[in-house]
């Protein structure tokens, strides 16, 4: 039964069912009693905490401070920025009352009609409006700029079709909101934070990403430019992993935020915002995992090494435990996190598949014979290979191995992406190739009409106009009109 519990639908049978199985069975998250809202379980949250910690360090290194703004946004605030309200005010959680009272029939509690709010409050779907209404009071002079704030928070968007981590009504994220005296500074900040996200994705998540700019129709509602990092999942679909927006003066104008510049003139403030969310958990899972379960990059694994003792008597168990304690101290001294699972109620085989399912990068097994021989069995999760090695010096070996696993996972994902990124010149070929999944670089005439046509006919969207890569002009694959450069198409989550 234990085995069955852990068995995942194979990716080749149904990628989406595999994903769902994995999230549940690896104890990452589950659906809650509240429609569209997930429970992030301790093992999943431990990964998210590591993501938070590293990202937070990177934000602080680039000069940002954390702050906290209200959960609620007065309804009228959303209407201040015309595009923003179109994008965000529609599917949202609306607070209309502030009190319940006992039901007259004694059947529990009901909304008290006397306690109706004068103005409805929206549970924040994103915080530009409440933050810019606040910044108005913080900014008088150029000396008050820049403001470089970040907030770790929950947000709510009333999604109809939800999927754990990828699309949920409530999710956790960080949202940076910065205010600048000049356009150039704000644009620099937008790009700097995109690079922070890309670095985090590649160096910590071991996930290669394409850095690019969104087409107008894929922009954040209220932005002049949206920069994005796009990952390619194992099923050939793209996933937008993080965005950084150059907001121009749109929100400053909507909330009348001006400053006295050095030249004495009153000017509108320039803005950026940028965010990544628990969606990154989905990206992490879909970038590396396999039919046996999660594959975690060592830098984000809640524990990097698990040690399983194999014994037939209490004496053996005690002897192994003694040996293991020394090894654990050595590993911890090297900054390696380790779990010793000497739970007597589970068999080693059960544990092996459990930790495979949970993606622990390195597994050690030590039995009575190992004690005699001074050896240990070491298995790596990414390649599923194992070997017996001398216990002597194993800590240093593991330290190097973890680095190797981190880069191996990255290289594997990069290879996959390279093999699934193609260049196409005709729309017919595009329509054929898009069925195979992957990224397609093709020429586009730059019009929303052509973009919409391609989306309608092929379900592929322009993921971004890549910042790096081939900038040779050409002809749009659909209309034959001039194209400045190839853009990146894919079907996406």
């Amino acid at each position: 039964m234990a085995k069955e519990l852990k068995e995942l639908t194979s990716r080749s049978v149904s990628y989406s069912q595999w994903y769902q199985d994995l999230v549940i069975k690896a104890d990452l998250a589950e659906n809650s009693a509240v429609r569209g809202c997930m429970v992030i379980k301790p093992y999943g949250y431990a990964i998210w905490e590591k993501m938070q910690r590293y990202l937070d360090d990177m934000f602080k290194e680039t000069g940002h401070s954390n702050a906290y703004f209200p959960l609620f946004i007065p309804k009228s605030y959303l209407s201040r920025e015309a595009e923003h309200v179109e994008g965000f005010a529609k599917e949202c959680a609306v607070v209309t009352h502030y009190r319940l009272k006992n039901a007259p029939d004694g059947s529990g509690v009901v909304v008290d009609p006397q306690a109706k709010l004068d103005e409805e409050l929206i549970v924040r779907p994103t915080s530009e409006t409440i933050i810019w209404s606040t910044y108005k009071n913080w900014i008088q002079s150029h000396r008050d700029l820049p403001i470089l704030c970040n907030q770790w928070a929950n947000v709510v968007r009333w999604e109809m079709r939800t999927r754990l981590f990828l699309r949920t009504a409530e999710f956790l994220w960080q949202e940076g909101h910065t205010a600048h005296a000049t356009k150039e500074e704000a644009e620099e900040e937008t790009k700097r934070m995109l690079e922070v996200y890309a670095t985090f994705a590649e160096e910590y998540m071991a996930m290669p990403v394409v850095r690019g700019v969104k087409s107008a129709s894929e922009r954040f509602a209220g932005a002049l430019d949206t920069y994005t990092i796009e990952g390619l999942m194992q099923d050939g679909k793209a996933l937008q992993c993080g965005t950084s927006h150059f907001l121009g003066q749109n929100f400053a104008k909507a909330f009348n935020v001006t400053f006295a510049d050095k030249d004495g003139e009153q000017k509108y403030v320039w803005a950026t915002s940028w965010g990544v969310s628990t969606r990154l958990m989905g990206a992490l899972i879909m970038s590396h995992s396999d039919d046996n379960g999660l594959v975690l990059p060592p830098k984000l694994a809640p524990y990097q090494v698990v040690i399983v003792p194999i014994y037939k008597s209490e004496e053996q168990r005690t002897a192994i435990t003694e040996k293991v304690e020394g090894l654990m101290a050595e590993l911890k001294a090297l900054g390696i996190s380790v779990k010793y699972d000497n739970n007597d109620a589970k068999k080693p085989g059960w544990k092996f598949s459990e930790y495979e399912l949970k993606g622990v990068p390195v597994r050690l097994a030590i039995g009575a014979r190992d004690l005699e021989n001074g050896t240990v069995e070491i298995a790596r999760r990414d390649t599923l290979s194992k070997e017996t090695m001398p216990l002597e010096g194993i800590a240093r070996h593991i330290e190097a191995l973890l680095k190797d696993i981190q880069s191996n996972i990255y290289n594997k994902a990069l290879k996959y992406r390279e093999e699934h990124t193609i260049t196409v010149d005709s729309y017919d070929e595009f329509k054929e190739k898009i069925e195979e999944g992957g990224f397609i670089l093709a020429h586009w005439d730059g019009t929303p009409e052509t973009e919409a046509l391609v989306k309608e006919e092929t379900k592929a969207t322009i993921r971004c106009i890549p910042l790096a890569g081939d900038k040779t002009p050409g002809k749009c694959m659909v209309t034959g009109k001039p194209s400045a450069c190839r853009v990146l198409f894919a079907r996406a989550y």
Copy 2:
């Protein structure tokens, strides 16, 4: 004008105005456009982050893991536990709709009446109900126990009279929720977490607290026992700083959470919950600060040392900066956080009062003469004393000084509390002494009637029945009936 901006109402004139001034002027927090919701500003949030980090470490050391549960609670869930709904379901934010639409007259957006929820959702005021509905699926056998989860989250209670940090509609907190096989284990956990809070308050916040049990009428709604730590503020009022609840089997019964015990029997699970919130920020401020501003314990200060250069020429400034860089590296190597404020737009005097206002524990000033003499002026915030010292060896001196400040602040607060804790035997004396503020230890007959009478007549409440201290029985100061031991009375926030 700068001076004026920083001037606080004196504590002797109005303690509450002093508090309000200080929170605003030291850039800790401010009121937002949303009724009762605050904005926590970067400097205030940096202190909260330190609190979070240390508390989180302590939770993990005691075996807890973080997780995340939904923001929303179905209305019917709140009614499952009879006392709980009385305590929490009344003043709360109620989500009734999930969509807005364009107003027919083009004046913005309005609630879409078509998008009414079948069941209203309550923004969590606390999460026992949603968490126990989740635990039901996690617990089958005694092997699944204990569950030791904590969540860092925002909660909303629709308070009518709010005060920054002390009482706000939305606040940030952590809530631990644990599930156990036996009553004894759950009671142990309740006490363990109280001790974690007390240790944190005393060792990090430098705030002495009384550990105790609440009287029945002051219990958490749904708890069998509520343990509390109570601090005494400088105005003689008590502040409840953290609570740990033994919930018995109340929530397990409400959500039908049972487990197969070792003896094969199905039993209800035992529960605890415990929390501290951004209210601790208020406690921190009111425990130590003075008419010049904040006084922060070094362990929680966003930066522990500030260095102000005093120069008359660019040359002097450069020379000082060079010297300071070496010192900063030394300080950082000792794990001391330091800020160098060489902002040319502000005068040293302005900076001195700014950092006094912000409670930076140690301030260094270095001028041209100091460079010649190899000296530095060092000022400590807690005593407002300063002296000139050799620059050589100053880093080690500062390291020791920070420890001294931490304990000095604690001792000062402890002395204040000791001087303001009295023992009273007659109700007449009680009524007289309560006007002076402070803690009063008095005998009480254990009835809610007497407790209510004292509260009505004197505005004093029973803060707790102290765990330590005099356990000699006596006679109730009001009724003369037998009393098991003295209890702690005070007027409270």
